[in-house]
Amino acid sequence: MNIQILYFGQIADRIGLSAENFDWTSGLLVSTLREQILAKYPILKDQIFKIAVNQKIMQEDMPIPFPAEIACLPPFAGG
């Protein structure tokens, strides 16, 4: 099953992509998803980012529900 991942700011800029699908399996953790993203995009290895699940910043050890809207968020710059 697929979940959509949204990329923002310098992350979208670096990988040249603002959204794509990833494979979801039951019990998928935020940390595992992060590893998959870093494996696919080595250019992000020094990039600090938070992962939001359904618009909430998630701890790394939390499982990702299905369906979910995932977002990779680089440091904020509002204000």
């Binding site: 310098q10 977002a71 680089p74 509002g78 204000g79």
Partner: protein
């Protein structure tokens, strides 16, 4: 203070017109329980960078989450401080140097509530809202991604 405040759209395209500030004040002159307005405005600086001078910031956001974050910050401020009104505006897209990208407007009966609330709001907006900014450098298309400290 348990009244629920209708979510209002905070994000808007382009710079914030200083005229909006005057209009906001005029709109609150009929609220005769207000004794204090505290305002904060963020303006784009022409900072010197290694590769040139900043000419503007191009803002983008995870818009749905950003609006939700603004809404939560707003509700928390209404809970913490005894406020009459609160209005927040933040730019998206390009805001040139010297133009305004953030407008925080708080009104209260007494001065302490609005002064403290505006401080709280500015810090929380910087910290909690998924807004991203590209500092545009010179005229050559260079840029640096901005990060709040």
């Amino acid at each position: 203070m348990n009244k629920v405040h209708k979510p209002k759209k905070v994000l808007m395209q382009g710079p914030i017109d200083p005229q909006m500030v005057a209009t906001s004040l005029v709109n609150h002159q009929s609220k005769t329980n207000i004794g204090a307005h505290a305002l904060f405005l963020g303006q784009i600086r022409a900072d010197q960078k290694d590769n040139g001078v900043v000419t503007g910031i191009e803002y983008s956001a995870y818009e749905a989450m950003a609006e939700e974050a603004f809404h939560r910050i707003r509700e928390e401020a209404f809970t913490r401080y005894d406020l009459t009104c609160m209005h927040l505006y933040h730019s998206l897209g390009v805001v040139p140097v010297g133009q305004i990208s953030l407008f925080v407007f708080v009104s209260s009966a007494h001065r302490r509530a609005s002064l403290e609330a505006v401080d709280f709001l500015v810090e929380r907006i910087k910290q909690d809202v998924p807004i991203f900014g590209k500092e545009l450098i010179g005229a050559t298309g260079d840029y640096i991604w901005k990060e709040n400290n």
